[in-house]
Amino acid sequence: MSVHPTPSGWSEVSFEDRMALVDFRLSSRAHITVDGDACRGCTTKACVTACPANLFVPVSDGSIVFNYEQCFECGTCYLVCDESGAITWTYPDGGHGVVFHKS
């Protein structure tokens, strides 16, 4: 990912570095699943830009690939989703997922 220079000269960290600062306790179960086939017919694909963790990646066949591991569990994706049933959303198993410390 690129580093964005700001007007005052200091630089934003890359998105990977931004997410690497967050404590995620990985579960073996994917708490969110995305039905890529349902996404193929979607013209908005709002999840791709709206997800604050940038976890929805559009791929060349028109579907979406999703990685649950660095998820804030916020709920934005299922609320902005236009394709009924494309996103199956649950909380991670207890004790897993994001752990904030300075929020």
């Binding site: 967050v22 709206a50 804030f72 934005t76 207890g94 994001v98 752990v99 410390h101 929020s103």
Partner: protein, 454 residues
Amino acid sequence: MSKPDRPQGAPAGTKRIPTPTEPDVDVIVVGAGPAGAAAALVLARAGRSVYLLERGPFPGSKNMYGGVIYGRILDTLIPRWWEEAPVQRWVTRRATMVMTPTQALTIDYRTAAWGEAPYNGATAFRPDFDAWLADHAVAAGATLVPSTTAVGLLRGDRGQIVGVQTDRPDGDLTARLVIACDGVNSFLAKEAGLYHHPEAEHFTLGAKEVLALPRDEIEKRFGLRGLEGADFEIIGCTPGIAGGGFIYTNLESVAVGVVLSLEDLKRSGKRPEELIAGLKAHPAVAPLVEGAELTEYSAHLIPEAGLHMMPELYGPGMLVAGDAGAFCLAAGIWLEGVNFAIGSGKVAGEVAVQALRAGDTSATFLGRYQDALTDTFALADHIKLQGAPALVMSDNVQRRYPELVCSLVESLFTVTNPTPKKGALRLAREAAKGSGVRLRDLARDGWAALRSYG
């Protein structure tokens, strides 16, 4: 019972069981945030057995805000709480900024009174603060059950809620009453059929960066001493998206974030972190945060629409409090959440105590929860301010009025010699015209504001 047999990634739903004659516990409180902790504290002090479920490894671990905790409601629960609560700074400087991309008008209020007990508001890290409040519930006798996700409901013979399914082995827990404090997404309130307005238009996304700065540097940049703190609330900083921004000081970090209408975020194609970067680059903000090192990035939904999105707050065997019940006040000049969570959780706990004493947890009895809430700020403020969220998120308040006031103030203070000064009224007319504000809009919004805030 064994671990609920649900398909991977699917909500568990509701399981019917024979109504237990001897449930595991009097009350299950789901979610150990400020609402759940307050409810559990009240119940435990009344001698009731309580399980306080928390899906994170510790209370507060899933929570973020943006970010002042107002203390008066705590006075009633924990006398002299300020001597022990894990706060970062006491807010003594409250600023409201109205912005355009290149301008900013700031109303900047400071008072020494807020820097002394009993204090008005504080900044805090929620993982510290929420854990502290939950500790009080535990000290009073509640049983904290961390790392446990409530994945569904248990209903008894007559359909009343008699417990929850959890993701633990032997995970079903039964109770006489369940209090859902399971946050903004409240799958329990939805599963119970109480949640009728889950549409995206009622929610905003909050995204926040915590930026490390040395303590003396924060004091210099924000003009603070000791434990004094600053809270800036901003409107006009999210171009094309209804919402706002905030900056507040912790002891050794500054939090900067944006609040974004989900519908507008969706339409705009912009990314949350880009909007934070835009706010940080604004000429009125950059000097406050530049050079600071990012230490944590976080995001969370906010129930923005107040009364208009509020679920039914009670059902047979269930009460709903905190963000789960949309007890979060997003009314522009007032932005409050943790106090509303505590306030609603406290009332839920009190009504639960009454219901247990009466041996009646029917919806009819629990209806007094709504009445009791109406007698206190938690619901009364939402009723009074029901028009405020829509007004604050309107295009006029978001864009045209900031442009209007900034261009008016700029024209007032721009010295145009040798051209003679124009009168203030003429400048106001020109500014209104330039920003596309119609007099009848101003009158209508002024009336709406008066009805809400007056």
